[in-house]
Symmetry: C2
Subunit: 332 residues, 2 copies
């Protein structure tokens, strides 16, 4: 029976997981609500209960050799999650909790760092040594790779581009500060922008019948697809701010590519077009017209799971083969 | 006769150079005006004419084994300087020019990258693997070291923190954009701040008798030392903006220390106190109270020269010993 790892991605809204084999194929995936107000212990109790059920229903999942986890404010060096802005956890040692359920090697990092490793192993960054992955979920995460290595920083907390200040004294952020990038460029950021536009303009909009809590980036995307002016303007504004912030990011590590993924990135050209426009306009001359902004090349929904799986495969010194490469070998 | 390298630092105002031995001791240094409006060829003609004179006057300088250069917008990979914002050079291959004068190995990088290598080899960053060096000269340069390696980026142009936008639609920058950090936090930035304060307030000031062109960060420092309110407010404003920008920088690479040097950093607590205050206030919680902001530990005026020298010594696989360590050995 072939060996598998579990990749887990903990988001502000949902926690997704998958059983991934050594070739980087996701054999099965599932999700539960994160319930951000509850404790980490509560989440893992519910998650591993579901995973045990999955394992008992399919023999292919039982030969577990490791667990990789992506989570907000996760510390690779210490195995902790520390004061995550979108979760009511405080500081907690996640590896200790996981070890109570499964006695296998466990590794954890920032959810976006895990995504970056996934893109490097299986996705849009396979050919790049210098790139940044931006995850546009409930918040905005980032994983920065320089010269083929993920940047962890002195304390394991590098890559918090979502908390760079883009509008001095701007919107309140979950981190307690104001004007952070993720209060504008994220699934929750674009909701706030829609509500600002609905307040400031008299334009009719499909979104005037939706409450703040019911609104989602998916609904905004659907409205934009139906030519809703407010929804389209919200994407333009979001892209303008994101593009400018990504141009600033280039000034630090000079990446060859920036890869966007997560709910908001699924809106395609509605978000990519204004982002690219604002990005190019904002770049220093020496960087213009040479940096690509690309969508994730990982299966939608699996990107973060594959990243978390790639993290632990990497710890175990297993170099995964991509599905595509395996398929090519099969043809030889 | 012992071997020497020449370290050259090209700034927007002055070009400084020094003869440095393999132990990292600067045996002799000198400077000429850069004359930013003239060509690169003109600068090197004047510079090497002076250096030839130095060499003919002292035998200790003649056994030249390499030249290291720090310059704005220098490209380590290509040996070029490309569209420097503060010099009227366009794009020029500096290594080709230098080779016309001296047939020795030549390496070039961003002036601030050179400074970072200097701090790592001889200065305040000897014990750090993750740090950022900020040079506060005519402009603001930066060299970012992550896990012991200088970040060059895909194209050799990483580390342009001076051109991160800090005030949307703010002051005009030499790069053609607006609101760049260096238009506020640099020797020229604080001059602009003084003039803004002189315009907006009725406070008496020693600086009301000085023209824009005659004003310098040194004069502003002297005025502040004489309790001049305008000068002190200018340092506070500069530090507030710099501290906030450095907090943003932490979100990318999570350094253990940030080292300030250059003319403005020489103002000591006038600039360090407001910078540290604003820095701590602006940091994400997970970064608070664990990152040091330090002054350069290199001899004032020699920092950039030693950095450029360290760059070429490194290329030549020569690991320099610091002056201090050599002295300690001598005592054994």
């Amino acid at each position: 029976m072939s060996e598998v790892v579990i990749g887990i991605d903990i988001g502000g809204t949902n926690t997704v997981y998958g059983f991934v084999n050594k070739n980087g194929e996701c054999l099965f995936d599932g999700a539960i609500s994160t319930n951000a107000k509850d404790s980490a212990e509560n989440l893992f109790e519910r998650l591993f209960s579901k995973i045990r059920t999955d394992m008992s229903s399919n023999n292919a999942f039982t030969n577990l050799i490791g667990i990789g986890i992506g989570a907000p404010n996760a510390n690779y060096y210490r195995g902790t999650v520390e004061q995550p802005p979108n979760l009511n956890w405080g500081t907690v040692n996640v590896i200790e909790i996981v070890k109570k359920y499964f006695d296998v090697p466990v590794a954890i990092t920032n959810d976006a760092n895990a995504a970056a490793i996934g893109e490097m192993q299986f996705g849009a960054a396979k050919e790049y040594k210098d790139f940044i992955v931006i995850t546009l979920g409930t918040g905005l995460g980032s994983g920065i790779v320089s010269n083929g290595k993920l940047i962890y920083g002195h304390d394991g907390f590098a890559g918090e581009i979502g908390h760079v200040c883009v509008i001095p004294n701007g919107r309140e952020c979950g981190c307690g500060r104001k004007g952070c990038l993720e209060t504008y460029a994220s699934a929750s950021g674009i909701k706030r922008t829609v509500f600002e536009l609905l307040a400031n303009s008299n334009l009719p909009s499909l979104l005037r019948d939706t409450s703040f809590n019911d609104l989602s980036s998916k609904l905004i995307f659907e409205a934009a697809s139906n030519d809703d002016e407010i929804a389209k303007k919200a994407f333009e504004y979001t892209g303008a701010i994101l593009g400018k912030a990504l141009a600033d990011a280039v000034h630090y590590t000079s990446p060859k590519a920036i890869i966007l993924f997560g709910g908001l990135a699924a809106a395609g050209e509605f978000i990519f077009a204004p982002t690219k426009k604002s990005f190019e306009e904002s770049l220093l001359n020496i960087f213009k017209n040479k940096i690509e902004i690309l969508p994730s090349a990982l299966t939608e929904g699996n990107a973060a799971v594959l990243g978390a799986a790639a993290l632990i495969l990497n710890e175990l010194d297993i170099v995964p083969q991509t599905t595509k490469e395996v398929a090519q070998w099969d043809l030889m």
